[in-house]
Amino acid sequence: MSVGDTPPPPLRLRLASHGLDAVTLLVLPAAALLVALFVYPFFYGLWLSLHPKDGSIFGNYVKFFSDPFLYETIGKTLWLAVPVTVLNLVAAIPIAFRVRRMRNQRLLTTILVLPITLGTVLVAEGMLNYFGPQGWFNRTVMTLGLSATPLKLVHNYTGVFLSLVITGFPFTFLLVLSYLTGIDPVLEQAASTLGAKASSRFRHILLPLLVPGLGVTFCLGFVQAFSVFPSAVLLGAPAGPTRVISIAAYEAAFEQYDYSLASAIAMVMAAVLLAVIVAVMSLRGLFYRGPASGGKG
């Protein structure tokens, strides 16, 4: 039988060769859920935001960017989210380096994961008591004579900042730890036999291999911090320095009952997030992003 006589393979095999088989169908429920919970609400929100009360298309956006009370929330939120994320990242790296060599990582991991499971509201309540004017922290500070008056640590920028560190750090740390443990330790050994001291090993081997992971970690941590709401209200000054963008959206939706404006604010929020993520990810593109192992085997 010549080649030309061979019947074409059945459709099932041709689809399978393109990665489509029965298993692909298992994706459908998740895809449906994604459409229902994410894609549809997003486009509905976009549509809503373009139908403001005054009837123009971009009325909401014009309103947002001409009212300082609204557009300043972008800067205020960034002024919280960026430093918090950077601090979490910078603090997580040395601790992850130390923990990587520890035998009993599980206990530490449990302790660190706890704030995530508690939720922001409980953490905020705890902080109000602990860092408040009559809290243990200020009593200790005053008993030790470090300050004559209670330090003002809640109901301001500091309060929100601290709560974002407490809830964001464990998350950042666990991600950094997993990226770090993904780097083959033999690379460090090889560098040291070639004469690299600990600081050079970090600078030339570990950091370049860690940067892509740090980029992803920054983005995830940033998204979390940027959408801060409960702690900004409970621990911050929601009318002043911690009037973050989600508060503006909340007020528009549930105090002024202007869903259209609230949707527009949400869209602005998404655009800012996207801009930061695109910036970080394109920086990440300048670095090596392949597997962090030393070769075969």
Partner: protein, 354 residues
């Protein structure tokens, strides 16, 4: 300091030991190596050979003993201060650096001026024949090429000691033979010491001037490949050097150099290794030396397979002992055969201690 390391004569390990918790991975390693020598550490996995190498490299702290280069004690130095070149089993190339940067890393850490570094990198690249690949990343190279980069990276710093940890075990058979020659050639060109860890006795014999056979964290024998091949000191070493037949018997007589054993009613003569205390002994014979003969050990053929020049097979001998033999022609399963070996090719070990 660097100059004294460059011009040293002898590397000496003095009662080196390393424990992991309660496990004695390395019990007591003592030997010295002269400049220019190629020494293989040979043993089955878990015998402590890689532990020994890592201790020498400075990647593992030692628990006991000391390491000396002439009169300089080096086991107290960190790996980065020893300046030894190490080739790792999985190559350990820096995945984010080009071949050139990988090879030049050691020179960069030493602050070698750029122009000198370039000359030396080019020379190392030429030595391992990778001129075409210098700007690629390690991930774009084949296993054999990656191994060459790893070797070039280790030798470009002109180390007094090159340590290799099973560098060929991830390569295919043909490439392994090629790389053996390369490694031997590179070693000759460097004139330093090469310590080579392997579990492959073929590799150790073809590469090394001397072989250190290890087992259970201890040295079993140190000698030239010829020594080990012809005169293994213990049954362990014999086993490792290809004496697959271990035939237990009873000593019935001695005459001159040879000793005669009774194996299930048949007599078998051989050369005694070490003093034979009791009456029981074990004869060790290579499959190559055990062949069908008019008289000898009566056995039943179980398997017979073709291996190029000859057939090799296994048979069940007196008392159910498994015998591995060579044959000039194919034998059928179940066929009776009598097997014998030249007494000069039979080694007799003490049966009590083994």
């Amino acid at each position: 300091m660097a100059t004294s390391l460059q011009t040293f004569k002898t590397l000496r390990l003095d009662h080196l030991g390393r424990d992991f918790g309660r496990l004695n991975a390395l019990k007591d390693l003592t030997f010295s190596v002269e400049r220019g020598e190629f020494v293989a550490l040979l043993g089955p996995s878990g015998c402590g050979k890689s532990t020994a190498l890592n201790c020498i490299a400075g990647l593992l702290p030692t628990t006991r003993g000391s390491i000396w280069l002439d009169d300089t004690r080096i086991d107290t130095l960190g790996a980065e201060d020893r300046g030894f070149g190490m080739v790792f089993q999985n190559y350990a190339l820096f995945p984010h650096m080009s071949v050139r940067d990988n090879i030049g890393f050691g020179l960069r850490m030493r602050g070698v001026p750029r122009s000198e570094a370039k000359t030396r990198i080019d020379a190392a690249v030429a030595t391992v024949r990778l001129e075409q690949q210098v700007d690629k990343l390690p991930g774009q190279l084949s296993g054999g090429q990656q191994q060459r980069v790893a070797i070039a990276r280790a030798i470009v710093i002109e180390p007094p000691l090159v340590l290799m940890d099973e560098p060929l075990s991830n390569l295919d058979a043909k490439l392994r033979l090629e790389m053996r020659q390369e490694i031997r050639r590179i070693h000759a060109g460097l004139g330093s010491i090469t310590l080579y860890v392997t579990h492959d006795q073929d590799e150790a014999m073809s590469l090394a001037d001397r072989i250190v056979v290890m087992r259970d964290g201890e040295v079993r024998q140190i000698g030239t490949p010829e020594d080990l091949y012809l005169r293994p000191a213990t049954l362990d070493v014999a086993d490792f050097m290809g004496f697959r037949n271990r035939i237990p018997g009873r000593i019935t007589g001695r005459a001159g150099d040879t000793v005669t054993l009774d194996v299930g009613g048949t007599s078998l003569s051989g050369l005694p290794r070490a003093a034979l205390a009791g009456t029981s002994a074990i004869a060790a014979i290579r499959p190559d030396d055990l062949q069908a003969a008019p008289s000898g050990l009566a056995a039943t053929v179980e398997v017979c397979e073709y291996r190029g020049h000859n057939f090799f097979g296994s048979a069940r001998g007196p008392g159910g002992v498994e015998l591995f033999f060579r044959s000039g022609h194919r034998l059928k399963t179940g066929e009776p055969v009598t097997l014998a070996a030249d007494p000069s090719r039979v080694l007799v070990f003490d049966g009590e201690t083994a």
